[in-house]
Amino acid sequence: MAEELLQSQPETENQPLASAAIIQVENLHKTYDLGEIQVHALRGVSLSVNRGEFVAIMGASGSGKSTFMNLAGCLDRPTRGRYLLDGQDVSKLSNRKLAGIRNRKIGFVFQGFNLLARTTALENVELPLVYSGVSHQDRVERAREALRSVGLEGREAHHPAQLSGGQQQRVAVARALVNHPAIILADEPTGNLDSRTSVEIMEVFQRLNGERHITILLVTHEPDIARYAQRVITFRDGKVRRDMLVEDRLDAAREFENLPAMETDDEDEENS
């Protein structure tokens, strides 16, 4: 009871903030205990991301940005500190509850696409819905809709091996979208793509962010890619070193038009 009071106090305090902030992190610490030595990956990170923001996370390797993303993605729990996701404190939830949060609130896009091999695009997109108990019919409908929104209509039955890198990543974006998450976490989504396809993917993100006001957290180490976001948070030594708005923001749609025409592996460019 006492614990509950203690916990609920700051929450009520931040109530007006919580409605605007989809991610609110307070004094987040993460320490890895490697037996002899302890690695302090995060040393007190406090930040908040508002609903509908498009934020890039930057930082050298070892800066703590990956650890932060794992915590933000509810794949791990902080050693200390608090993490409010969509108004809910998720820093001390059980594995089971975290899985539920990941399922409903978070969409992941990875560098290596991480699609299930020998599984159709549609089935890949359906995957989160399978774990939230959506009926087969609704799953198919929503997965089709998600694929349509990333410009992959007609590719539902294709296996990942039959799709180009850009197309595979768009399937992954559709999978992240399909359960209407609060945020999309994209971990180096363009890392395995050529620059042209990278712009293409950024266009998808910008469109989803602009049209649907989906909150996006994008980890990248490429400054060029970070310029597609509205705000860049830079990590260093387990702390936020810089947090600033992007002044000369790039518009991916326009950038794409300016790119020299290339013989790419895609012939369905008109869809995107």
């Binding site: 794992n70 794949l75 594995n95 899985a99 990941r102 699609l115 299930l116 020998r118 399978v130 774990y131």
Partner: protein, 405 residues
């Protein structure tokens, strides 16, 4: 995730790698097939024994005149002269568990028809003998109580006798001669084949027991009494009741040995069937070792599969699969794998036992329970050996799993 959905996911995952799936199932297929095959062969043998038991007679209780200890000398069976037709009648009247009784006299004699002759067993019995033995008449009819009362010169012939005496001729109504006395053939017995003890049952002539007593053997006593108990369960109590009844009728003192022997061949054959069953059990347990090996094979492949699909597990966890979901997925893959293997193994086992019975002409019989047990057992093997890999999968750290190359 509900169970059908879990199963669907499992089936799809297995369908994605058909070759590996088939190879993994092979162990279970062979194991179940071997078990089904051995059980089928064993069951077939014991079924055959039971079949010939039924052939022997209806809950047969057999009373033979026999072994009496006279002044320290054991006489062989049929050596006593104390068993009488009166005993037979008394059994029927005073032992309610006995439903049918037939007195019996044995003789062996040269039988002559025309220029043919044949040495055979002659059985003198009552009219209910054929009912007790489940022995129908193929042609003609049996003799009656009236024939017994009048010691009529009639006989029934077995097929072996028919073949040796009559060849292609119709024996019905013909006169055969035994010890120069004429007997008319009134019926031909249906072939009964071999007895469970290897004798040719068709090599016989059956007559009213009074006829054999007076005209062939020249005796006034009986060699045996064939009776039929009301049920399998009443055989044992009926035996005891018959024994005390005959002892009383023969005025035997408590310290005297029986002057008769009671046997029920059912018991004997039951013992044979029992030892057959033990043999089957032994073979089946050897065969089930291969089922165990199959299970270990499943565990092996599932462990490899978990490692191989670490990334997939990571992805599933990232999009919201709980540890339980992942565990259920791998467990149900193992379950489906072994259940399917079990089903194919059953088909293989049935096919194998059919092949055995057609090529080696051994009787085989696949009991339904064995199929059920085999399928259930293989599913159990799958769950048992799938548990460890499934647990391993469920306990993966999603972050590590996603990073796994």
């Amino acid at each position: 995730m509900d169970f059908p959905a879990v199963l669907r996911v499992a089936v799809r995952a297995l369908a994605r790698n058909k070759m590996r799936t088939i190879l993994t199932m092979l162990g279970i297929i062979i194991g179940v097939g071997a078990v089904i095959c051995t059980v089928a062969i064993g069951e077939g043998a014991s079924h055959q024994i039971q079949e010939s038991l039924r052939n022997l007679g209806d809950n047969l209780v057999f009373v033979a005149a026999g072994s009496v200890n006279q002044h320290g000398v054991h006489m062989g069976s049929s050596a006593t002269k104390t068993l009488t037709a009166g005993d037979a009648t008394a059994i029927l009247q005073q032992v309610p568990l006995i439903t049918r009784v037939s007195p019996g006299v044995m003789a062996s004699a040269q039988v002559v028809y025309g220029n043919q002759n044949w040495f055979t067993h002659i059985r003198g019995v009552g009219p209910s003998y054929l009912e007790i033995r489940h022995w129908p008449i193929q042609e003609g009819s049996s003799f009656t109580q009236h024939d017994v009362d009048s010691s009529a010169d009639v006989c029934l012939v077995g097929l072996t006798v028919v073949q040796n005496l009559f060849g292609d001729e119709d024996p019905l109504g013909k006169i055969i001669r035994v010890q120069n006395l004429p007997f008319r053939v009134v019926g031909v017995l249906v072939s009964k084949g071999q007895s469970p003890f290897g004798q040719d049952e068709d090599d016989t002539i059956i007559m009213p027991y009074t006829t054999v007593q007076k005209k062939i053997a020249g005796i006034s006593w009986l060699n045996f009494i064939t009776t039929s108990a009301s049920s399998q369960e009443s055989i044992r109590p009926a035996e005891l009741q018959i024994a005390s009844l005959i002892r009383e009728r023969h005025h035997l003192r408590p310290d005297e040995d029986d002057d008769f022997i009671i046997r029920s061949p059912t018991d004997l054959a039951e013992t044979q069937a029992q030892s057959g069953r033990i043999m089957t059990l032994l073979l089946a347990s050897i065969a089930s070792v291969s089922l165990l090996v199959g299970g270990i094979g499943i565990m092996n492949i599932m462990l490899v599969s978990v490692t191989e699909r670490t990334r997939e597990i990571g992805v599933r966890m990232a999009v919201g699969a709980t540890e339980r979901d992942v565990q259920m997925q791998f467990l149900s893959e193992a379950f489906v794998l072994s259940l399917l293997g079990g089903a194919v193994g059953v088909l293989g086992g049935v096919a194998g036992s059919l092949a055995v019975s057609s090529m080696l002409s051994w009787p085989t019989r696949v009991p339904i329970e064995a199929i059920g047990v085999a399928v259930l057992f293989s599913a159990g093997v799958g769950i048992f050996f799938g548990y460890l890999p499934a647990r391993k999968a469920a306990h993966l750290d999603p972050i590590e799993a996603l990073r796994y190359e």
